[in-house]
Amino acid sequence: MKQRTELATRMTEKLDYEEMLGCMRCGFCLPTCPTYIRSKDESASPRGRIAIMKGVVDGLIEPDEGVEKTLNECLGCLACEPACPAGVRYSVLLEDARAAITEHKRATGQMPVRERLVRKVVFDGLFLNKAKMETATGFLRFYQQSGVQTLTHKLRILDWFPDQLQKMETILPTVPPKTERRRRPERIPATGATTARVAFFSGCLMDTMFYETNANTIKLLQAAGCDIVIPKTQQCCGALHGHAGEQTGAVTLAKQNIAAFEAEDVDYIITNAGGCGAFLIGYDHLLKHDPEWAERAERFTAKIKDFASILIEVGFLDRVPLSLPEQLITYQDSCHLRNVQKGALAPRVLLQAIEGAVYIEQKHADHCCGSAGVYNLLQPVIANDILEMKMGHVNVTAAQTIVTSNPGCHMQMQLGIQEHGTDSMRAVHLADLLVEAMDHHAI
């Protein structure tokens, strides 16, 4: 009981009471929330979750496993935020509550050994350090190229792993060789007249496993007339840390990134992963209590822009004709691009401009696909239910091409096709499809 009270105190200190009070409990968020739509359980809704957090702070309930479970089950897609009349920043409350729980578990030695280990490897190792990420990706490339993957499949070694992990393994993209990744210059000039000076946020996963997509994004920016700089000292954005309650790690990364980018005199900092973009744009909140960094963070976040929006802004479509062989295309929003960065329109405008292809909007394109970072690994049952609903809508469109704007969504949609789709479907990142359309037109 004593420990619980301690967690309640921690949450009370951490959570912004003003923000919780802002929720007028009108329920406008309910029909936007994937976990609520799935279960129709108020404790799985944003309104319910805020009430539960406030209930802990107000001393109405103790922060027990039920509280932790309901917070863990939130996808963090933030579809609730644009729907909220009162403008409550649910994301901030969720992140702070999760951080309080993680800190508490660590301080009281309540974190199970396995979770501690996973967190250490993932958050302190892999994502906090780009070099380690490189090494890990190197292993993945080795695994894919050396025949070990084929062998693993043949020997059914993966049968020993959880179901969801097995499925994810089969849809991992093929990693390009490290040498190719190292050859990329730090500065890349525009093709033709310069329209903007931009810095590219290359990301960690995007720059290793989805290197090709990064290369394509740069190609598009170039063609749109952008002078591009890719600062070498930039790091992972910290989104995974932030969402998992590892705020200290997130803050470290944020500071490194701000320092890396403020050295460059650019109009915008461009992202091509919805999740990263949304987290970068929230650095000002993450660092608002740090007198040395608050202002620097604000200047940084003011420059964040997703690549589709900048393409539209600098007149990419006037410069570059796009066409594709006849096909139906649908778009799956990246929740964070849509709900946090407000970037729902630009991808659609770009897709509709491709000659030969027909764009068809899927019902509830704005609903999360269930990927949500590592959510699909941590909450496989809920994630799969949500994916199944999603693929139901995708199948109705009969589209052959499902376009995404975030690596997590991309892999999840591939999984969706494999599990609930048809053979003629493919999932593709918007940047990859646009380059495909650019090249196709050139032929």
Partner: protein, 466 residues
């Protein structure tokens, strides 16, 4: 609890503190109480089993839809069981021969509306919460909406109900009949009974043909009086618009400050007018309304060119709540209603009451049916101000009654307005209602502390006004 679980299944009975907390409130500011359990029945039989058990053990039961109500109606103030209809949300039948739809109570109202519109039929009641609220909740609160003037409220569309009485008996009222006058109208008794009599488990609703076209218009007025005169004159001219919405000066200012959409802030009021129906009728009515607006001195009138333009005209009204909600930590949206001829007088009185108690009140609402939403921006933590807010609302209800109006037009009485119900009904009215309550619910287990207050508030001459 063990018995509950045995009767209807352990997977639909919840007693953990997290779930109980999540069902401890509705959309009413400042009301919260923990239930002892949440049950989610799958069928009428489940509802019967739960009620029998609760009846036997005198456990309070609170039926709850999506809890969007603004009068504390679904807050479990006496604890007990909250009955949740997540599993009973089906559209049972759309009967195109009789133009009816039969639904389970947990069906979201917007889903019902979409399903019938797909067949060219129309379910007109459209509470602003319809994307969230359930039909069961709408029936229990007798909800209204933007189309109330022309099409009426929920009660005007309920033809038949299946309900479970607290003793577990099933009661069936009405039918798919246009004419049905056998005995007391128990359908009407149950509609708007706010879960205090029985649990509705199925409803058959009247449908009408879907209007073919719709036209939208926005008019600005220099002062409230000319806007209010316009409302009366339109109806005098035998035009019943589908929508006739009013925003006062303060609401316009707040909306413009929030959304920057270019609303003129030097005007006194705006009216949003819509008509639907056959194209020639819509054209004729829009022209007639346009003419009245100009005759009454409208500063400008804008008729929508197409649907996209119509949407921009509706935008200001649609975001009024968002704009007001962002003014302060607590937003209290009330629901006083007067005869439409008294709209201007009522808004003036609300303004005076706001000044007298030194609180911020903005008013918008359904001018066509006299249903106004005076909305207060305040902070629930400021106890001194909350007292003034409460006193101001008492004065607002008193003013509405003085003008021949009522204390609620579409939100229900719940716990919030229970002390004022006697002002409207008088002691005789309360006695009859209590008698009805006793006939349905002899042990008083159904949604206790709602509708009937322990004591009515003393009605004083409007306190803040001298």
């Amino acid at each position: 609890m063990t018995q509950l679980r045995e009767k209807i299944g352990a997977d639909v009975v919840f007693t953990d503190s997290t779930t109980r907390l999540a069902y401890s409130f509705d959309a009413t500011p400042n009301y919260q109480a923990m239930p002892d359990a949440i049950v989610a029945p799958r069928s009428t039989e489940d509802v019967q089993a739960v009620l029998r058990l609760c009846h036997e053990h005198r456990i309070p039961v609170v039926p709850r839809g999506s809890a969007t109500n603004l009068a504390g109606g679904t807050t479990p103030l006496s604890g007990g069981v909250v009955m949740d209809f997540r599993h009973m949300d089906k559209i049972v039948e759309i009967d195109e021969k009789n133009l009816t739809v039969t639904v389970e109570p947990g069906c979201i109202t917007a889903h019902l509306a979409q399903a019938v519109e797909a067949r060219g039929l129309f379910y007109p009641p459209d509470p602003s919460s319809m994307k969230i609220s359930t039909i069961g909740g709408n029936i229990s609160e007798n909800s209204g909406g933007l189309r109330g003037l022309k099409y009426g409220v929920t009660a005007d569309y309920v033809l038949a109900l299946e309900a479970v009485l607290p003793n577990g008996e099933v009661l069936r009222t009405g039918g798919k009949l246009a004419k049905d006058v056998a005995g007391y109208d128990l359908t009407r008794v149950l509609v708007g009974s706010e879960g205090t009599l029985a649990v509705i488990t199925q409803a058959t609703l009247k449908l009408i043909p879907l209007p073919e076209t719709k036209q939208t218009m926005l008019a600005y007025f220099e002062d409230l009086d000319s806007a209010a005169r316009t409302v009366s004159r339109i109806i005098e001219n035998r035009v019943i618009p589908a929508t006739l919405e009013l925003m006062d000066k303060k609401t316009i200012e707040v909306v413009e400050a929030y959304a920057n959409i270019g609303l003129p802030t030097d005007v006194g009021a705006l009216l949003l007018l819509e008509q639907d129906g056959p194209l020639d009728v819509v054209r004729r009515d829009i022209e007639a309304m346009h003419a009245v607006c100009l005759e009454e001195g409208a500063l400008s009138v804008e008729v929508a060119r197409d649907e996209a333009h119509a949407e921009t005209l509706r935008y200001a009204r649609r975001i009024a709540l968002s704009a007001l909600a962002r003014l302060s930590p607590t937003t209290i949206l009330e629901d006083a209603t007067v005869p439409r001829s008294e709209i201007a007088e009522m808004v003036r009185r609300i303004e005076a009451i706001g000044r007298a108690y030194d609180i911020q009140i903005a008013t918008f609402g359904h001018a066509g049916d006299g249903n106004l939403h005076p909305t207060v921006a305040t902070d629930a933590r400021n106890h001194e101000e909350m007292k003034r807010v409460e006193a101001a609302f008492a004065d607002i209800f008193a003013a509405a009654l003085d003008l021949g109006g009522t204390i609620t037009g579409e939100h229900g009485v719940g716990a919030m307005k229970a002390p004022y119900l006697e002002w409207k009904l008088g002691p005789a009215g309360i006695d009859v209602m209590k008698g009805i309550k006793l006939a349905f619910d002899p042990h008083g287990i159904m949604n206790p502390q709602k509708m009937f207050a322990k004591a009515a508030k003393k009605r004083i001459v409007q306190g803040g006004l001298s």
